[in-house]
């Protein structure tokens, strides 16, 4: 579910970085003003815990399927939404840097998908809403399950939108949605059960941990306004996309209601992309990386390639010279590497 750099465009990556950066800055301010300095080491070590716990697979008896915790909601439950969001950010940053799990440019997207939806939407509005009357075994199950599943669905939908916005894959929207959402429903149910088990255990053994987080002043006064502001921004983005789709597709309504699925729609997809591209070049809503249809791309490449004809409108000549040149460059790069390594190891030997 981690987005990779290769799947996003700079515009989408940058926009999500900006959104996430804003949320993180606000959360840090919140954490620093509200809490004791004790929270920082707790967040650090808890981040490491979630990181390790993500590698533990839990099996669902009788189904043979297994899953692991995502961590966003669990962190929000144990640390509160702001600290939870920051901790999630740190985990994802380390995964991006040290494990190439989701890239640096895509980090904004990933933090948003896995941190924002769980900590600032699922936790305050779903989990807390259900658990408000007090902790009981049943309510823990209900609240965790609903919050995890819906949080994950939102995150998965985020992945779909970000990828489509970036225009790197050619998957049509509906196919992508149909691929992503059900998979994440299954994952969400497993995770929901695991979170329930963990929260119930902690609640039984050390209730003060959960109560402190849930009823303490830090979470008690979640400023809903701020969360809502975030929501509005999100809604605007989403709205932008949706209206974009809708206007691009003559059967916009039908499309958005998921009435059609399968082949017919798949075929329509090229049309969507094309019209989108036209609209885009007309309105310049986003810089021209996003959602490009082959044609418009060709145009920009033509400009870029110094008047050369580029790929899609292929003439045999250009594809050959592209191939030859590309291969040559590849060989040259490899050669450079080899020579440097040779020279270096020789020098090392001489010095030694």
């Amino acid at each position: 579910m981690h987005m990779a750099d290769a799947l996003i465009s700079p515009a989408v990556g940058g926009a999500m970085w900006a959104a996430t950066g804003g949320l993180a800055a606000y959360s840090i301010k919140k954490v620093q003003s509200d809490m004791d300095e004790k929270k920082v080491p707790l967040m650090g070590v808890m981040g490491a815990f979630v990181f390790a716990a993500q590698m533990v697979n839990f099996t669902i008896p009788g189904t043979g399927s297994s899953g692991h915790i995502g961590g966003g909601l669990l962190l929000a439950i144990l640390l509160g939404p702001y600290a939870g969001f920051l901790t999630m950010s740190a985990i994802l940053t380390i995964q991006a840097l040290f494990f190439a799990d989701g890239g640096l440019l895509a980090l904004g997207c990933n933090i948003f998908n896995l941190g924002f939806f769980t900590c600032f939407v699922a936790y305050p509005f779903l989990y807390k809403g259900i658990i408000r009357q007090g902790y009981t075994q049943k309510r823990i199950l209900l609240a965790s399950m609903i919050a995890v599943v819906l949080g994950l669905q939102m995150g998965a939908f985020g992945v779909v939108l970000e990828t489509l916005f970036s225009g790197i894959t050619q998957l049509p929207f509906s196919t992508f949605v149909l691929l992503m959402q059900p998979i994440h429903l299954a994952i969400g149910i497993v995770e929901g059960l695991v979170v329930t088990a963990i929260v119930s255990f902690v609640w039984k053994e050390r209730p003060e941990i959960i109560e402190r987080a849930a009823l303490g002043k830090t979470i008690g006064d979640i400023s809903i306004k701020k969360v809502l502001t975030g929501f509005v921004i999100m809604a605007m983005i989403t709205g932008g996309v949706l209206s974009w789709f809708a206007s691009a597709n003559p059967d916009g309504l039908e499309w958005s209601m998921f009435k059609t699925a399968g082949v017919e729609e798949l075929e329509a997809s090229d049309g969507i992309h094309q019209t989108l591209a036209d609209i885009q070049s007309g309105t310049a809503f986003l810089p021209d990386y996003g959602f490009k249809a082959p044609e418009s791309e060709t145009a920009s490449e033509e400009a870029a390639g110094g008047g050369e004809e580029a790929w899609p409108t292929v003439s045999v000549g250009t594809s050959v010279s592209g191939f030859v040149g590309g291969f040559l460059t590849l060989a040259l790069a490899a050669l450079t590497g080899l020579i440097i390594t040779r020279v270096k190891s020789k020098k090392g030997r001489v010095a030694a």
């Binding site: 750099d5 799947l7 707790l42 650090g44 190439a100 450079t336 270096k344």
Partner: protein, 269 residues
């Protein structure tokens, strides 16, 4: 479980690599971070039908590999671990792209071009990000973040998370080992043990966090995080930055391999 051991190995490896002292390691962390970000942005900005234009971007990782004395294999392994996800999303492109082109007498879906393009981009971006870490290390990155005015609290928390990942991976692995020894032939953890197993680990983590906090307090921690002075940016660092950025920009604007290729084929004709 093997995932944990791999992660630990990976952390250790990158950490070892970052302790070397080559010319690349000596480039200021902030400069390397900025160069990497520009690189990633430029690479990712290429359209989905471009392949040849991406080729010049091999030079950056190749030079870092060679000058920074980073072994190629472990990094390659990492790419191979990441690629399947990309393949999963990209493999459908050939199905949905109805345009075709002729190549050597065959009709090929343009989708294959986009697929290949994604794969190359993925390899490049993953490699360069890992190279950044392998030549800079967590402490270098933390210093760079501080220079970018990222709040101390977040940097400290990040450093702590990084530090305790190794400790907790080992702790989790021990717990799992104890579990699997008594539950042979089980792939994951059975439902009945979920809460206790993860919960125990969690409670121990809370206690550890408490002790770590005490340890910090005993060393005079009051919520402020003081780092040492970070190294100054040298002139040569600026040259590094400026040089690479100009290269990236030029290679983005002009399709160098294409020019080279047409020159060559033109000459041959």
């Amino acid at each position: 479980m093997s995932g944990m051991i791999n992660s630990l190995y990976n952390l250790r490896l990158l950490d070892d690599l970052a302790k070397k002292g080559t010319s690349i390691h000596r480039v200021h962390p902030l400069i390397k971070l900025l160069t990497t970000v520009v690189y990633l942005t430029v690479v990712v900005s290429f359209g989905r039908y471009q392949i040849s234009g991406l080729m010049p971007f091999l030079f950056y990782p190749v030079l870092i590999f060679a000058l920074g004395e980073v072994p190629v294999l472990p990094i390659l392994k990492r790419i191979i671990i990441v690629e399947p996800l990309i393949i999963g999303i990209g493999i459908l492109n050939p199905i949905f792209d109805h345009q075709t082109f002729m190549f050597g007498g065959f009709t090929v879906s343009m989708g294959w071009v986009t697929f290949l393009s994604i794969m190359i981009k993925c390899a490049l971006t993953v490699t360069v990000a890992l190279l950044l870490v392998a030549t800079t290390g967590m402490d270098g990155l933390a210093a760079a973040m501080r220079m970018l005015k990222i709040p101390k609290a977040f940097v400290l928390q990040l450093v702590l998370t990084y530090r305790y990942i190794a400790v907790l991976l080992e702790e989790a692995a021990r717990t799992l080992r104890a579990y699997s020894l008594r539950a042979p032939g089980q792939r994951g953890i059975h439902r009945s043990a979920w809460g206790t197993l993860a919960g125990q680990l969690l409670l121990r983590t809370f206690d550890r966090a408490e002790r770590v906090y005490q340890g910090m307090c005993l060393k005079g921690f009051t919520g402020e995080y003081y780092t040492g002075k970070s190294n100054r940016i040298r002139i040569i660092d600026l040259f590094f930055l400026a040089g690479w950025i100009s290269f990236f920009v030029i290679a983005r604007i002009y399709n160098i391999p294409m020019l080279l290729g047409s020159l060559l084929t033109g000459v041959l004709n």
